[in-house]
C-alpha cells in the first residue's frame, strides 16, 4: 500500500519535471526567433564581416578592438559612435539594404541587408 503510493507520487513528480523541462526548453528556444544580435568586429580598420544579413528588429553589435574611435554611419541615417576598445550596438528598424562607413576613416565600409 505504502509502496504503491510512493510509486504514484514519484510518477507525478516525474511528469511534472518533464513538463517544466519542456516549458523551459520552449521558452529559451522561442527568444532568439524574435530578434538576434549580430556581432561585427572592428580590427585594424576593417569591419568584419563587412557584409551581413539581418532581419528588422535584430541588433548589430560592433566590437571595436582598435585603439582608435570609429563610427558606423549611414548618410542621412544612423551615426553610431564606437569608442576605442569598446562596443556599441544598434537595433535595425527598417528593412532594406544599407551601406555604412566610419566618419573618421571613410575608407572603412560595411553593408547590411535588412529583410522585413
Amino acid at each position: 500500500m505504502s509502496s504503491r503510493n510512493s510509486n504514484r507520487s514519484a510518477r507525478a513528480l516525474f511528469l511534472w519535471a518533464i513538463g517544466l523541462a519542456a516549458m523551459l526548453a520552449f521558452g529559451t528556444a522561442a527568444a532568439p526567433a524574435h530578434a538576434k544580435t549580430i556581432t561585427v568586429t572592428i580590427q585594424k580598420l576593417v569591419f568584419s564581416p563587412a557584409n551581413i544579413q539581418a532581419k528588422a528588429g535584430d541588433t548589430i553589435e560592433w566590437v571595436n578592438k582598435d585603439a582608435f574611435a570609429h563610427t558606423a554611419t549611414v548618410k542621412g541615417g544612423w551615426d553610431v559612435m564606437i569608442p576605442p576598445e569598446k562596443s556599441a550596438s544598434l537595433v535595425l528598424k527598417k528593412a532594406g539594404p544599407v551601406d555604412y562607413f566610419c566618419r573618421f576613416h571613410p575608407n572603412m565600409k560595411g553593408h547590411v541587408t535588412v529583410s522585413p
Binding site: K44, L45, A67, F68, P84, R103, F104, H105, N107, M108
Partner: protein, 174 residues
C-alpha cells in the same frame, strides 16, 4: 623660399629612397620609427593650431579627430619601440619634415577665418598624401621588424582614412 625648397627636397627624398637604385639608402628600423613618430607629432601640432585658431565647426571636429588618432598611433608606437628595445634615431628625413612643418605653421599663423580654414585643410590633404606615399613606397617596404611593419600598415590605413576625410571636409568648405 629656401624653406619651401627644403620641404620639396624632403618630400622628394622620401619618395626617391623607394627607387631600387637607392636601395643602400633605405632607412633603418630606428630611423623609420623616428620618421613615423615625427610625422604624427607634426599633425598633432597642426591640429592644436587649428583648434586654437578656427571657428569652423567642421574644421574643429576634423582637427580633434586628427589629434585623437595621431596621439593613439604614437602611443602604440612608443609602446612598441619600448618593447622591442629600439631607440628611435633622428635622421635627415625627420629633420626635413619638422623644418617644413614649422614653416607651414608660421605661414598658417598669419591667416585668419575662412582663409586659415582653407589653407589648413589643403595642407592636411597634401600632408597626408605625402606621408601615405612615404609609408607605402619607402617606410613599410624598408621595415625589418614584423611588428613595426604591422603598426605602419595600420597607420597607413588610418592616414588613408584621414586623407579621404580631409578631402571631404575640403569639398564641404567650398
Amino acid at each position: 623660399m629656401a624653406i619651401r625648397m627644403t620641404a620639396v627636397l624632403a618630400a622628394s627624398c622620401l619618395f626617391l629612397a623607394g627607387v631600387p637604385a637607392h636601395a643602400a639608402e633605405k632607412p633603418t628600423d630606428p630611423q623609420i620609427a623616428h620618421i613615423a613618430y615625427t610625422a604624427g607629432v607634426i599633425d598633432i601640432e597642426a591640429a592644436k593650431q587649428a583648434l586654437k585658431k578656427s571657428n569652423n565647426k567642421e574644421i574643429k571636429a576634423f582637427a580633434k579627430d586628427m589629434e585623437r588618432d595621431h596621439e593613439a598611433v604614437n602611443k602604440q608606437a612608443l609602446a612598441l619601440v619600448k618593447k622591442l628595445k629600439v631607440t628611435p634615431e633622428d635622421n635627415p628625413t625627420s629633420k626635413a619634415l619638422t623644418k617644413a612643418a614649422k614653416a607651414e605653421r608660421a605661414k598658417l599663423s598669419k591667416l585668419h577665418g575662412a582663409a586659415f580654414d582653407k589653407a589648413y585643410i589643403a595642407n592636411e590633404v597634401a600632408y597626408h598624401k605625402q606621408v601615405n606615399g612615404a609609408l607605402n613606397d619607402v617606410l613599410i617596404p624598408s621595415a625589418h621588424n614584423p611588428q613595426l611593419k604591422d603598426l605602419l600598415e595600420t597607420g597607413l590605413k588610418i592616414f588613408q582614412g584621414h586623407e579621404e576625410h580631409a578631402e571631404h571636409v575640403q569639398s564641404e568648405l567650398k
